[in-house]
């Protein structure tokens, strides 16, 4: 049992927590956060994977995670943007109705 193993289990657990959050959380933002938590979980799993042989560090998962992080932030930004726009439309329609 190496620490990498613990970390990879932690990654899986984070993934599970995130998935649970995606299913159960009500607010969009929470869902977005939950997705991000899932992402972090996977990244953790990957990085722990890179270290599963204590002697060698596999740089490939690192590269994958780097790419993944950028993609995650892109997705998050888009989702947040959409959320904000919906909110804005709701608000302005409320103002109009007033």
């Amino acid at each position: 049992m190496t620490s990498a193993l613990f970390y990879s289990m932690a990654g899986l657990a984070l993934f599970a927590i995130g998935f649970f959050g995606v299913v159960v959380a009500s607010h969009v933002m929470r869902k977005i956060l939950a997705l991000n938590v899932m992402g972090v979980g996977i990244f953790m799993f990957l990085i722990a994977l890179a270290k599963r042989n204590p002697l060698v560090v596999d740089p490939l998962p690192h590269a994958l995670v780097l790419t993944g992080i950028v993609i995650a932030v892109a997705g998050t930004a888009l989702a947040l943007n959409l959320m904000v726009r919906i909110h804005h439309i709701d608000q302005s329609s409320q103002e109009q109705s007033k």
Binding site: L5, S8, M9, L12, A13, F15, A16, F19, F20, V22, V23, V24, A25, S26, H27, V28, M29, R30, K31, L49, A50, R52, N53, V56, V57, D58, P59, L60, P61, H62, A63, L66, T67, I69, V70, I71, V73, A74, G75, A77, L78, L80, N81, M83, V84, R85, I86, H87, H88, I89, D90, S92
Partner: protein, 249 residues
């Protein structure tokens, strides 16, 4: 799951109707636990590609294996990843504004001392550090993304003060935003001409080319991340134009 997308601020953290599902999600958790044990029970491939990468690192032109993977072995992924970033920028950026210049400094009478000090001293330092990160990426941890993120962070700081304004939709900004993708494609395609295959760097120039691409990527990423952030700050404009859309439709 995504069927109800609640965006009211004062909602409960958990969808009430979903509470009944907790049991089932617990089942899912259980299943996941099974997954974990299954996954971990298998020894798996011992080293992955570590050895292959180490063997080939000489040929990549850089010594940092992560950079080698990102920008040489799997440069194609990175290229597409930049495209992903571009997608989001395109989707989010407000309607274009040709008149405001790319960079503008606004004279504000009342200045926050701390902030202005930050702007004056820390921003250049961040830029220099980012440049270092970029340069160092070739042989030790660091690289375009990190540098870009740092720079973007710096620009976030700048916006807190309303002193500087960047028009991300001006022609210059647009060129800079697509710079990395363009350069990447150009180099990649040009290399087909010279080397016979896509993104095959000639050994002698590979370090240089990677640095060139990374530099451009840093610029674009900085601008992209900063523009993403700014879209939330300057959202009023966006909303107004959106309103216009609505009336048109």
């Amino acid at each position: 799951m995504f069927n109800k997308l609640d965006i009211e601020y004062d909602g409960p953290p958990v969808d009430k109707s979903a509470l009944s599902l907790i049991a089932s999600v617990l089942v899912a958790g259980l299943l996941l636990a099974v997954t974990i044990t299954i996954v971990l029970s298998d020894k798996g491939h011992n080293t992955g590609l570590a050895t292959v990468i180490t063997q080939n690192i000489e040929l990549s032109g850089v010594t940092n294996p992560v950079t080698a993977v990102l920008l040489n072995f799997r440069a194609y992924d990175t290229l597409l990843e930049i495209a992903v970033l571009l997608v989001v920028v395109l989707a989010i950026l407000p309607t274009r504004d040709h008149h405001t210049p790319f960079f503008k400094r606004i004279e504000v009478n009342k200045q926050n001392l701390v902030l202005s000090a930050l702007q004056c001293w820390i921003a250049p330092a961040v830029v220099i550090f980012a440049g270092y990160l970029l340069w160092a990426g070739a042989h030790q941890p660091g690289g375009a993304f990190q540098a870009g993120a740092l720079l973007a962070g710096a620009s976030v700081l700048l916006f807190q003060s309303d002193t500087y304004q960047i028009n991300y939709t001006s022609p210059i900004a647009r060129v800079l935003l697509v710079l990395s993708l363009g350069v990447f494609i150009t180099i990649g395609t040009a290399l087909i001409w010279f080397e016979g295959s896509l993104l095959t760097y000639p050994l002698a120039f590979s370090g240089l080319l990677i640095l060139l691409i990374e530099t451009c990527a840093t610029v674009s990423i900085t601008l992209a991340l900063a523009s993403l952030y700014s879209s939330f700050i300057a959202n009023e404009n966006l909303s107004i134009t959106d309103n216009k859309h609505r009336t048109i439709e």
